[in-house]
Amino acid sequence: MRTLRILRRRRALLNCAPISRDHLADRSMRAAVSREDGSDEFVNQQNFDRAVAEVVRLVPIPPESAEWFLDKEAIRPPKWTWRRIVLNPAVLAISIALLVIAGVFAFQVLSRLDDFPGSATAR
């Protein structure tokens, strides 16, 4: 039963085997491909996929759409500015927490400034 499941998964992976070697995503895919590499069926499939991908690469891009390629910045998130960093809720919350901690620490130090060894006895 388990073997059947493994074989089915391996078959599924081979059907999705990448066209370029750069897209061998994970270990299971690499293992499935290396096990089948060289078999007639798999070679046919890879040649078929490569030929289709080659035709897709030939899809012409109209000049009106190509204008967007020059203006990639238009769909990038705006750059971080000091104002945006400071107003970021996480940064703001951490800053307030640090201020409170510093305040408590300063209060503790100031209240113990007048202390000396044996001050409790003297009081």
């Binding site: 995503a25 030929a51 897709v56």
Partner: protein, 160 residues
């Protein structure tokens, strides 16, 4: 955002494969990017990778909803032939796009994303929101159906 995640020529090709029509592809491509630019200006771009492709996919499906839908027929399937690569090389990109766009979804999305040769299978599963078994079935069936179509085309041409 890395250049791979917003590879705009590939985004246009994806729209073209999904719709099989240059005018419609251009319309969806431009609308998707105009909306993205508007969101970017407000600092509201989605964080997940490949969201542009996901957006374009939904727009393509929406755009083709009003089109005439192919009848649900049993499509012929053939084993991949050794000479398939040379048959495919004779195809025009538009012919291939028309063939892909006529496939029912999710097969259409799977074929379009896969043959862009831009994503690995995990990324395709993520963009198309599919399971491995479904993607595998769509691709295997797609290859066999495309081979049958190529054979019929080749046979028709040689008879003529």
């Amino acid at each position: 955002m890395s250049d791979r995640k917003q590879n705009l020529p590939q985004l246009y090709r994806f729209c073209f494969l999904m719709l099989g029509d240059a005018r419609k592809a251009q319309e969806v491509f431009n609308t998707t990017l105009r909306e993205a630019a508007a969101h970017a200006a407000q600092g509201e771009l989605p964080k997940e990778p490949f969201w542009l492709f996901r957006e374009a996919r939904w727009r393509c499906l929406e755009a083709s909803k009003t089109d005439l839908q192919p009848e649900a027929l049993e499509i012929e399937e053939h084993d991949i032939a050794p000479q398939a690569a040379s048959q495919i090389k004779q195809l025009e990109p538009t012919q291939l796009a028309v063939w892909v766009s006529a496939a029912p979804d999710p097969q259409r999305t799977a074929l379009a994303l896969f043959y862009l040769d831009e994503f690995d299978y995990l990324e395709i599963l993520d963009i198309a929101e599919l399971k491995l078994s479904t993607l595998s079935r769509c691709l295997a069936q797609g290859r066999r159906q495309l081979q049958a179509w190529l054979d019929a085309k080749h046979h028709g041409a040689s008879n003529a």
